[in-house]
């Protein structure tokens, strides 16, 4: 008797529109090469945050991939500008922060700015594919509080969180996903 076949899924990259923001032309070239190889046709590129924000409004990308450290208007500020709940653009767009920063506190700062996924350089095709697969296939709900608007930051199973940003009212919702930090640690 044949074994039951396992369902497999793949992303149709040719249906996705990307906006890439990185001030380094070599890294933009790498990203463009990887995304086109995955099958993407539309990759728009910006070399700093302000241009990226304009392109974001104009092209309405499905996914934003941004560096953090850039002159004048960086990737963190870009994320904060996109994550404005009342904005005319799409504040729910998945944002993948691709950065040379590799410290735990940076992951926390990026998460609190509303980043969807964090990918520490050096980049690999596999790690980038996995981040894109994650945001396409498993989008997280958004949370809006007085101080935060962005993807749900809860990723673990503890219901005993007593930190300053503990939510009040309603049951605790749990997302069975590894944290951004855990994912960053196993990115290669």
């Amino acid at each position: 008797m044949p074994a039951p076949s396992r369902l497999m899924f793949r992303i149709d990259f040719n249906k996705l529109r990307f906006l890439v923001c990185d001030d380094n032309p070599h890294m933009r070239r790498i990203l463009r090469t990887l995304l086109h190889s995955f099958g993407t046709r539309e990759v728009h590129e910006a070399e700093e945050g302000a241009t990226a924000l304009e392109m974001y409004s104009h092209y309405v990308p499905d996914i934003v991939i941004t560096d953090w450290s850039m002159p004048i208007f960086d990737g963190l500020e870009l994320t904060q500008m996109i994550r404005q709940p009342g904005s005319s653009g799409n504040p729910y767009v998945p944002i993948i922060m691709l950065t040379g920063h590799s410290e735990k506190r940076r992951v926390t700062i990026a998460r609190d700015a509303g980043v969807t996924e964090f990918l520490a350089k050096p980049i690999s095709a596999k790690a980038l594919y996995q981040r894109i697969l994650s945001v396409v296939a498993n989008p997280r709900p958004f949370i809006k509080t007085k101080t935060y608007f962005g993807p749900d930051r809860r990723r673990n199973t503890t219901a005993k969180y007593i930190g300053p940003e503990r939510r009040n009212g309603g049951d605790v919702e749990i997302l069975q996903q590894p944290s951004l930090l855990d994912k960053a640690r196993s990115s290669s």
């Binding site: 497999m8 899924f9 890294m27 590799s102 989008p139």
Partner: protein, 192 residues
Amino acid sequence: MKRSQPPVLDIQSFADHHIITQPNPLRAAVRQIDPRDADDPVARAEQALAGLSGEFQSWMETECERLAAAHETMKLQGVTAATRNELFRAAHDIKGDAATFGFPTAAAAAESLCRIIEHAPDLAAVPSGLIAHHINAIQAIIREKAGVDTTGMAGELSRKLRGVADEYLTAVNRDRPEHLDAILAPSIVPGR
């Protein structure tokens, strides 16, 4: 993806927060495939990346020139926000790119330099040789890559630089616990 009407949002309101869920707008980009489908987009991308590898050496040389130029500007104009930021960004780019381009030991030396720039309380007071040694090491690693196999020596050089830099940073930050914690915290990138 085809752009149509804004998605219908499901909003649950609680005492101090809202949970907003929308139908997955990218669902149409996920398709089921036959398990026998041999197409591997990751392997295809790795192959394309390998096709670019002939350019990596010259890219790294360009990055090194930018780093050296930023250091020269800082020496001429002194430590200002602009000169500090440009030196940091040049080092930070090498830290992020070099391993992808086949120079992991240059990335390690660049990371050590980034830590000095980020955590030294007064960049102007950093011993002049410490920054210069890092830049010279990065340049040497890139330059010698095409010659003999220098991985062992380059790795040793990077480790020694990191040791000296960490010793300096630990000493000058002994009264700045937030910096000391960051200096002593392990990297989230495996192997660093």
